[in-house]
Structure formats: structure tokens, C-alpha cells
Subunit: 95 residues, 2 copies
Amino acid sequence: MYEDLDPLLHSQLRLAIVSMLVTSEKIEFTHIKEETKAAAGNISIQIKKLQEAGYIDVEKTFKNNYPKTLLSITDKGVKAFESYVNNLKKYINPK
Amino acid sequence: MYEDLDPLLHSQLRLAIVSMLVTSEKIEFTHIKEETKAAAGNISIQIKKLQEAGYIDVEKTFKNNYPKTLLSITDKGVKAFESYVNNLKKYINPK
DNA sequence: TATAATTGGTTAATATTATTAACTTGTTTA
DNA sequence: TAAACAAGTTAATAATATTAACCAATTATA
């Protein structure tokens, strides 16, 4: 009944990051910072975890001479997100 | 946009406990143990946290000479759950 | 009728996670 | 050229969750 919730996604900040990524091609690190209000260090670490899990791809480039980190979600990430949402629904639509 | 998720509810086990409670009058400790497969100690601690937050009431009685712990959700707990679910939806129905 | 096993938990210790604070590398501004 | 800023990273710390050991009482068992 209460399936386990993927701990990689059951984290407010990582869930927000993945949530943003599932509906857009690529997102910049700085954009995530603005949307989530989280500290850069925290974001950096959560991105690394998502990357290590193969849920997202990280691409480093430059924009106006400044480093720029672009994120995109992988197929594996999309599937993990969908599965997480399905499991979660049993918790939040109880009975 | 991405509202903070009440950390008291954003925990798999506590969420399962509250999820069970929102649809029933009272639930036994042992029932929660069976449904969630969690260890008794873990449940005990999470119950205490929910109780300290005023989200649930805990009633200790006896059944067949054995101790029995009955849980029920408070108004505050119901409201917290509803608010949590509303906030969470923005994460899991992205765009 | 001791004693071993079970019920129904609690608490202290530990492991895991998340968050922050300090640092780095390079860039622009004064 | 020194100070401030951009865009991060990493090491240290704080917060959480989980387990392992314990306790008190009850029931089964040899």
C-alpha cells in the first residue's frame, strides 16, 4: 500500500529541481537559485546527487565570460519522477 | 511558487501515519506497524514528534491485558495535512 | 513453576541527510 | 590595482531518521 518513496526525490530542494526540469529542455543553475531561493551550495550538492543517480545531465559552458551550468533531465529521471508521483499519491489521496 | 513543505509532514513515515489518520477515527500503534512495515522504535519517535506538534492525539489504554496506543488526528493536523498537500501539488504537477 | 518467548512499546546511540559557511576562480567596476 | 561581484564547489556542521538495545508486563512451554 504505502510504497517506498525514492529518497532522492523525496527532498524538497531536489524535488523542486526535478519538477522544474520535467517541463523544460534546459535550465540554468542561476534560474534554479532564483526560483527556489535556496543557497547556491545547497543547490550544487543536490545537483551532484541527481547527476550521480543519472537523473539529470549537467553541461558546463560560458555566458558573457561567466561560467554557466545547464541542467536537463534524463529518461531515467523522468521515469523516477513519474514513479515517485504515483507512489506519493497514495499518501496524499488517502483512504 | 515552490512553497516550503512542512518538514514534519515531509517524511515518509510521518506522512504515512498522518495519511492513515485523516480517514479514520482512531488507529492502533500496531496497525500502523503492520501497514507501514516500519520498526516500532521509528514509529514511536515519529508519533512523539507529531504529538509534540499538536498534529495528533495519543491515548494509552489496554486491550487483553496488553498496552494499546490509540492515535487520532487533531484539527490542526488535518489543516497541516491539507496545506502540505496543496503545496506539494505544485511540485508534482509542474509547469 | 521457572524460564523462555512474545507483546507493545521507549530511549539512547548511530547513521544518514540537508544546510550553511567558508573558499575558489575568474570578471568587472571604481 | 584593489574591492566587489558572478557562479559555483567543498568542508564542516546541524538536523533527521533509523536502528539496536532495552524495559515492563504477559503468555506459552518444559
